[in-house]
């Protein structure tokens, strides 16, 4: 059985990716499961999607704990503990990562002996073409398994995205086939994982639970605004940077319109952005009448605030 795990951010199309890969397997005669992991997944937040494919019946259920292939659509997720990108890597588990860096760099960085394949998805001049990431990841994964043909992959993409109109399908198809072709040297490198039999389940002994005190059973939060412990700054792919030389100090505008309450009046009356929590929606950029806020890619700006790269304790 193939067990494949996708990692991306909400909005990068991981659910679609898993569905396309699942359907492509199905067209090749496999039994398939594909599912995204739901929770508080939101645009920008880490999300997961899973595909199982086997020649016979699949009796496993739930999230994949022993992946044969792990696909990472967004390399900035790797250091995020909540994204669990490196969870349960076995020596045979292949890592496919959307990155312009080399496999060697990643090997050293992660101290990982498993196979690593880098696939730079952004085309020339693009920062991150989010809409096509999912389909390209699915296509690359298909090639790595060696059991999905180019044609049936193309048919699947057209079928799954058909409702979006011809133009969208054509561009997705182009991206999918490019990713499929880029993986030619690695065709079939991902092998099916071994069968895993469920351990025979033993019924639990009867356990008498003492009654909890009300306060413990339904705990109350006594402090206000504890949500600031969650660093949503990690979601950001673009960062708003205020240029004070253009700024009019009308913070009531950008400060009111920022949905996340992260723009306050800072030193000298200029707006101050709390990068630990700014989600990078860029509403402030659109709101500023003086065009004093610039959107810059997070990759280049990351060094400025190291704090955004620490995950809050859950």
């Amino acid at each position: 059985m193939f067990r494949i795990r996708f990692h991306g951010r909400g909005g990068q199309g991981m659910k679609t990716a898993s569905h396309i890969l699942g359907s492509a397997f199905f067209h090749e005669g496999f039994e398939v499961q594909d599912a995204p992991r739901y929770g508080a997944e939101r645009r920008g937040a880490p999300i997961f999607a899973y595909v199982r494919a086997a020649r016979g019946a699949i009796n496993e259920r739930g999230i994949i704990r022993h992946p044969d292939l792990v696909i990472v659509a967004d390399e900035s997720l790797v250091p995020v503990p909540a994204a669990e990108v490196l969870a349960n890597f076995a020596p045979h588990t292949t890592l496919l990562i959307n990155s312009a860096e080399s496999a060697e760099t990643w090997r050293e960085r992660l101290n990982l002996s498993s196979p690593i394949i880098c696939l730079p998805l952004a085309e020339a001049g693009e920062q991150a073409e989010l809409p096509y990431m999912g389909v390209a990841c699915a296509a690359a994964a298909a090639r790595l398994t060696g059991v999905i043909g180019r044609e049936s992959l193309g048919d699947t993409v057209a079928e799954e995205l058909g409702s979006l109109g011809e133009e969208v399908v054509a561009e997705n198809l182009r991206r999918a086939l490019a990713a499929f072709d880029a993986m030619a040297d690695h065709e079939g490198c991902v092998a099916e994982g071994e069968e895993r039999l469920a351990a025979p389940a033993e019924g639990p002994d009867w356990i008498e639970m003492p009654l909890d005190l009300g306060e413990q059973a339904t705990p109350a939060i006594h402090a206000g605004a504890t949500s600031v412990e969650v660093r949503t700054g990690l979601w950001r792919v673009m960062r708003p940077v205020v240029h004070e030389d253009h700024c009019n100090k009308c913070v009531w505008i950008c400060g009111s319109l920022c949905p996340d309450s992260v723009i306050s009046t800072g030193a000298g009356g200029y707006p101050e952005v709390d990068y630990d929590h700014c989600k990078g929606c860029m509403i402030c950029v659109a709101a500023c009448p003086r065009h004093a806020i610039e959107a810059v890619p997070e990759h280049g700006a990351a060094g400025e605030t190291a704090a955004t790269h620490e995950e809050a304790s859950p």
Binding site: R42, R43, A45, E166, I221, A225, S227, D276
Partner: protein, 305 residues
Amino acid sequence: MSEPVIKGMKDIPSEHILGAGTALCAGCGALQALHEIYDVLGENTVFVNSAGCMTLMSVYPFTPFRGGWLYTAMASAPAGAQGVRDALDILLAKKRIAPEEDMQVAVLSGDGATYGMGLAAASCAIDRDLDFLYICYDNEGYGNTGNQTSAGTPHASRTATDTGAEGVPGYKKDLFGLWVANRPAYAATVIGAEPLDLARKVEKAKSIKGPKLILALSPCPVGWDYDPMETLEIGRLAVKTGIWPLKEFVDGKVVHTKTPHPRTPVEEYLKLQGRYAHLFSPKRNDALIDEIQSRVDAYWDAVGD
């Protein structure tokens, strides 16, 4: 009613009291409206929140609120508000809290709950003259569960449950009109993209006792399918096209607080949103676009504009 202090943009509170770090999507128009509302309401507010996107803000042990928060079933937030109001009144009567420790009770519900299964509970709370503020963030769909059609979803838009070429066959319910017919103490429509209009209305609602509605159209990048950055432009266009009239019901009359002149064609609003993409491609659907426009025109004609 006390004298208003919010007269211009500079009077809007500069202190933002809603905690950051919530799980709501980047660019969420509902969160934009809520934080603007909360800044005016102040910390001394208990939110009674029915199931929806906003309930994900308070997941133990994290909350963005500074006062109280109570989670209720989808249809029951107004009933929950009655319970909280009664409890506070009893504590006040027994002198277990001082009058300055009293809190405002605010329902926080989406359109799914408000226009649908929560409507009876709200109507009955108005009948009982409950002193509460009902905040509805209207993202025009069941957002939290994947944007299915609700009774607040507009005609012809595409949702997870209406995927055909003509989109949603039904029409958005006139929730403001239903409230007005129920004779509340106050009712107003707002949008986060117009913070001054919003702040004035919340300030007014805060000063009036009895059942009050703040109905906030809430652009939703996920459900409406657009780039989060466009939340502001889409919100402004909702007002400029006249598709979202800003108005209030006070002292027995409905007054429009902003009349767009001249009105921008609705098309400008529609074409920014993926949920209306099927009206423009592969072939332009003039019949539906014209229908939406003529309904907006008919509304403003009736207003006497």
